[in-house]
Amino acid sequence: MADASRTVLEMRHITKRFPGTVANDDVDFDLREGEVHALLGENGAGKSTLMNILYGLYHPDEGEIVISGKPVQLGSPKAAIDAGVGMVHQHFMLIPVMTVAENIVLAEEPTHGGGFLDLSEANDRVREISERFGLAVDPKSRIEDITVGQQQRVEILKALYRNADILVLDEPTAVLTPQEAGELFEIIRGLTDQGKSIIFISHKLNEVTEVADRITVLRRGKMIETIPAEGATEQSLARLMVGREVLLRVDKSPANPTDVLLGVEDLHVFDDRGIEKVRGLSLDVRAGEIVGLAGIDGNGQTELIDAMTGLRKAASGRVSVAGEDVTGESAYGHFKSGLGHIPEDRQRRGLVLEFSIAENIALHDFRQAPDSRAGWLFPNRLIARATQLIKDFDVRGGNAQSRAGGLSGGNQQKVVLAREIDRDPKVLIAAQPTRGLDVGAIEFVHRRLVEERDEGRGILLVSLELEEILSLSDRILVIYEGEIVGEYPPTTTEEELGIAMTGGGRGQEAAA
């Protein structure tokens, strides 16, 4: 059905400037019928800008867009949809309390009797499309009752319902388990077989080589190269992306664990709605090792971290840091007993974005000498310390007095890292330490965590990225529904961990 020689989309000489920066600098991009064309680049490379231009959200300063041979002006998302472009955003735009079919037909509802919603017609049409493209979902289920993977299918169906021929998938696997990602790739192949063309945005190298036909690499707003996926390696793509050789695998020696530094015993924690999210969990982290805690989002990781760091009261159980019982202590008490905490959301919790870097670095210690004495703050000392740390941790984009909110994500994370490590903690809890960071910054954070391990700290790494867990951890614990369901060596495969993460390691009923 697909005619691979036919070009369905051409973006020529696209330039888009923002104040102080050129987001897209003379970028060429084309898409053939029935192909998967991956758009690869670090955060800030201009991928999303280019796609927002295609979806009518931004207007290019220069360049033209040609769809199926006709030059088009895409002044709004409506115009883009009419031209056959569909977009599946990383964060789904669905209404949880409405059904699958209602979400899909939203704003283009079939009606009868002069304006009344024809729900059975909607259900039929959704069922018809979902069968044609092999995207199994029940039109009558409510969005809040289906899995994230199914929600993504609904988003794809939404685009197909509006007759999209060009589908843009923005970081589609970021929210999926390895199994779900595999299913998504099947769906993508099914779609291309039926003549749909797909733009696949990602910064995950292994996926891109697996699913794409061609790969275009963007770096700092410029198109670097378009290459066939065949023959491309992760190493070569990383070099194109970053512009230098990158260490994809973390170099580390075998761990040499000694004393238990973080002990959690039979911990029970409830969330704000009174649901028990951590159910009798126990774990140990020893000096000189990195323990990875793997699990699908929402299996109690957040509540566990909050309880271990004094931000949430545990219903029962004990937490000890370096042999000292800290159960029930305040967050400040936890910090004083030698705990460092890199929070999972650096912008909501890790930093006060309106504060300067210096003020952020003082967040735990501003009440103590040398930052202050008897309630009197010494801003110059804050600045001096921050200036040193900015140098040590290679924070780019501002000095000690610049607003933390003005830094890029990677540099914000370096500020958090600098603050936590500089306090010389015995235990470091690192939650999602590389979320949203680009390859270069990830490399920095990983290297630093391994260094801290070798210094004799105990590190608990909580991450949703299996690759990160596997490459950094000396031991891997899998959390499922608030309990540790297994311990694995770092040689385990992603697939095995994936099964354990969905409860498959425990019994038959969950695996079904």
Binding site: F18, D251, L311, G375
Partner: protein, 430 residues
């Protein structure tokens, strides 16, 4: 390791370039902040205001005056500039012109003293709103805190007639401040413990303060005037407890030393916020309570402290007024006063900064004095309408301060649309 060292230089250059990042992630973002930047309302407010710099508050005030002028024109048909000139002179600001001499100069001095007396109060009530604002709290209870401060100061000031003057003044003023702090502290305590919203609780406390005051000084009330039993008014503050006048005639309500108390309060406000751990905690909570909690800061405690300190400023304002020029409180004063509500406008226009509050207080002090019936020439503007003009401008300022975030957004949008239109035009010309 050496591998990385080599890459260092390039990585550095790369980071440098990636500094001002383009918003990634999909949503159109007129403010220029990344869409994933999640911020408190206060945080957004802060950023938006900084984006406008000094321009935004000045434009806000000018716009308010402009529309006020239009109203003058439409309702009275007189030239708004003449009216404003009259208000300017009525506020005594012409005293600063060296060519104003003789009787005119004496009048100007007298008017300016009145303006500065009001400015003193407005600085303090403005700071009461501003300080809470820095902690993310909206203190609408300045009026109640002002009243309890005034009540306590008038009670102490009218008792102990033989006391050492300095001691008497200090005790009365400090008691007023502490009383205001406790009054606001109730709202802070409720916020910290049960999460009661401070807007609701401070408004309710305002009414409690008013009716307690009416009870105390009303006919037959425990603090009602000892000699005039038929007048609902307090005893007079004794001579020794009155604030000395340093400019003008004490008999004609000259400027009292409370003016320096206000200046001192501005300095204290700045110092607390910028040089103390208390101020650090308050600001951290105001910007991002979640991060503050993570950092080990006791958020509830800061809510309480911020409200109490706010209340202290308002209570001090009440004390300074009764010790400085009112010398007595009637039930009418208590029910009718709105000076602390003007403090809200002062804090908003002053952007919660010390210098901004000072300037805004001067502006509103001048407006209130300049439009008071005894100062405005009836030939220029009907005096009975004059105070309405003040209220009008106040209202407009509050409206525009809230709206200037929208104005900034509109400016950004206008900029984009223009660019788009240009692009369209270029695309259509062959």
């Amino acid at each position: 390791m050496s591998d990385h060292e080599q890459g260092g230089e390039e990585a550095r250059a790369e980071d440098e370039r990636a500094r001002e990042r383009v918003p990634e992630g999909g949503a159109v973002d007129p403010s220029g902040m990344g869409p994933e930047v999640k911020q408190s309302i206060l945080g957004r407010y802060d950023v938006a205001q900084k984006a406008g710099g000094l321009l935004a508050p000045v434009l806000t005030a000018l716009l308010a005056f402009f529309i006020g002028g239009l109203v003058v024109l439409v309702t009275t048909g007189s030239n708004p500039l003449t009216t404003y000139r009259a208000i300017f002179d009525g506020a005594g600001f012409n005293w600063f012109f060296p060519w104003v001499t003789g009787l005119e100069r004496a009048n100007a001095a007298s008017n300016l003293q009145q303006t500065l007396i009001l400015t003193t109060t407005l600085v303090l009530t403005g700071l009461a709103v501003a300080f809470a604002f820095r902690c993310g709290l909206f203190n609408i209870g300045g009026q109640g805190q002002y009243i309890v401060g005034a009540v306590l100061a008038v009670w102490i000031g009218s008792s102990f007639s033989g006391m050492n003057s300095l001691l008497h003044i200090l005790i009365a003023a400090i008691a007023g401040a502490i009383c205001g702090a406790l009054w606001a502290g109730i709202a802070g305590f409720l916020k910290a413990t049960v999460g009661a919203h401070e807007v609701i609780s401070t408004i309710m406390l305002n009414w409690i303060a008013i009716w307690v005051g009416v009870f105390l000084f009303g006919l037959g009330g425990p603090l009602q005037n000892d000699t005039q039993t038929y007048v609902p008014i307090s005893n007079d503050v004794v001579e020794g407890a009155r604030l000395p006048v340093f400019w003008g005639d004490p008999e004609l309500q000259g400027l009292h030393i409370g003016f320096f108390v206000a200046i001192g309060a501005l300095v204290v406000y700045w110092l607390i916020l910028n040089r103390t751990t208390l101020g650090y905690g308050v600001k951290a909570v105001g910007f991002n309570p979640e991060a503050a909690r993570y950092g080990g800061i006791n958020v509830s405690r800061n809510y309480f402290l911020a409200m109490a300190i706010s209340g202290a400023f308002a209570g001090l304002a009440g004390a300074v007024d009764v010790l400085g020029w009112q010398f007595r409180l009637s039930t009418n004063d208590i029910q009718g006063a709105t000076i602390a509500f003007v403090g809200i406008a002062v804090a908003l226009l002053g952007r919660n900064t010390a210098i901004g509050v000072a300037l805004a207080a001067l502006l509103f002090g001048g407006l209130l004095t300049g439009t008071s019936t005894r100062n405005l020439d009836p030939e220029i503007f009907k005096p009975e309408l004059a105070s309405n003009l003040t209220l009008l401008i106040q209202g407009l300022v509050v409206l525009f301060v809230g709206a200037d975030v929208i104005v900034l957004w509109l400016l950004a949008r206008l900029h984009r649309t223009k660019k788009h239109a240009r692009h369209e035009a270029e695309a259509q010309t062959p």
